[in-house]
Amino acid sequence: MSNFINSSIGKKLIMSISGLFLIMFLLVHLTANLFLLGGSDAFNLSAHFMDTNPLIQIMQPVLALGFFIHILYGIIIELQNRASRPVNYAKVNQKDASTWASRNMIWLGLFVFAFLVTHIINFFWVLKFGELETVFVDGEQMENSYALVSGLFMNGTTGIIYSVAYIIGFIALGLHLHHAFWSAFQTIGWSNIKWRKRLTIIGDIYAIIIAVGFSIIPIYFLFIN
């Protein structure tokens, strides 16, 4: 088994499985986020549900582990890959041979990670450990998460900076997913000539949904609200 995990395909399988797990998480997260568009009560309810649902609570450390493994193995693989080419080419022209995103997964990934850290500091940390004002929705007392989100994006110049930063983060995430989605299936071996086309299309649709879906929030607060 350790042979398998340490093999190149084994490591990539770990990337693939952890990646697919994160892909599922993103959908859940996005669904919860879109409640923001339904106004403060709707969002607060959904945030409260997330905060109190035992399954979600159990999944939180698993999710953290998923991120950790995905990032750790991503870095290990990247370092090994670099070591396998001790002397670099003086001239490389790969623009027609592969997509920009596929060649820069590590950078996109690290950028998304940096974004993730900011995001955790901005929201997760505050929600989890900070002192937030509370509101009553349907007679139940809960933290006013909506105010936290809207407060970040609707805070004059700082709000604009955050909004733009978030949108850039989501674009990077979308690009990361553009390659990641079909690549995860390819690594598991669930691909062939026909399915590769289908998976890339599904993957692109998914990546656009995620990038656009998440970006709607800051845009919504910036312009529409």
């Binding site: 190149s8 890959n81 080419r85 001239k91 790969q94």
Partner: protein
């Protein structure tokens, strides 16, 4: 009948031997026929160097018809140069323009050390093949060739994979120096045929273990290998290799 000709500048990697440090040298060539092949252009340069009592550029080449897999130049940032579905020997000078500077480098892969100038050592490929790139059948004692019908689609797909010439362009072009397409071509070919299916799991495990041991990088599915493969071998074969490898490990 006058042929169209061009003048070019070449930046060529020169390295005395495996241990020496190399560097680029620049050469100029005039009146190269656009109908000549890239290697014929290098022949002209080498003939010129010999006449000047300089050492000619060492590079691998043999059949000059795109099938032996010996030629292995990285030209203007691309394995086998600026054309698709070809080897270096099939590249023609009509792909370059007058006055162009052409950069020529050897494959840059840790597992393929440079021997001299543009020649690299691809023994690693041999070792991978020796680890399992075969059906364990000895001469004689086999059934009639038509004893087992094989669906045409399977035979055709096996042939697509079997077209690999072992040139190393996939590894050379891969940003990770991964040898997955090379290994996949053989594993997939043999896994598709009933004759090779019997030991498909063993083959996948042994070849991957050897590939890893030899220090090739990890595949990240960029697909560059497929695009630069002179024979257009598909990434679908890598998916099949992954499948074979994973099921082999699950089974054991």
């Amino acid at each position: 009948m006058a042929h169209k000709t061009i003048n070019i500048k070449l930046k060529v990697w020169r390295q005395k031997d495996a241990k020496s440090k190399g560097a680029f040298e620049t050469y100029e060539l005039k009146n190269i026929s656009v109908d000549s092949s890239f290697l014929e252009m290098l022949d002209v340069l080498n003939e010129k160097l010999v006449s000047e009592n300089k050492e000619p550029i060492a590079y691998d080449h043999d059949c000059r018809e795109g099938i032996c897999g010996m030629c292995s130049l990285f030209i203007n940032g691309r394995a086998h140069g600026p054309d698709d579905l070809i080897t270096t020997c099939q590249l023609h000078m009509r792909k370059f323009s007058d006055g162009e500077t052409i950069v020529i480098e050897p494959w840059r892969v840790g597992s393929f050390p440079v021997i001299k100038d543009l020649m690299v050592d691809r023994t690693a490929y041999e070792k991978i093949m020796q680890a399992g790139g075969f059906v364990s059948v000895s001469t004689g004692g086999v059934p009639d060739a038509n004893a087992i019908p094989i669906p045409k689609e399977d035979a055709d797909e096996a042939m697509d994979a079997a077209a690999c010439i072992g040139c190393g362009a996939c590894v050379a072009t891969c940003k990770n120096s991964s040898a997955m397409l090379f290994v996949a071509a053989k594993v997939s070919q043999l896994a598709l045929l009933p004759q090779g299916k019997v030991e498909a799991s063993r083959r996948a495990k042994n070849m991957i273990a050897k590939m890893d041991e030899l220090g090739f990088g990890n595949c990240s599915n960029t697909g560059a290998c497929e695009m630069e493969c002179p024979k257009g071998i598909s990434l679908a074969h890598i998916a099949r290799l992954n499948r074979e490898f994973l099921t082999a490990n699950i089974k054991s």
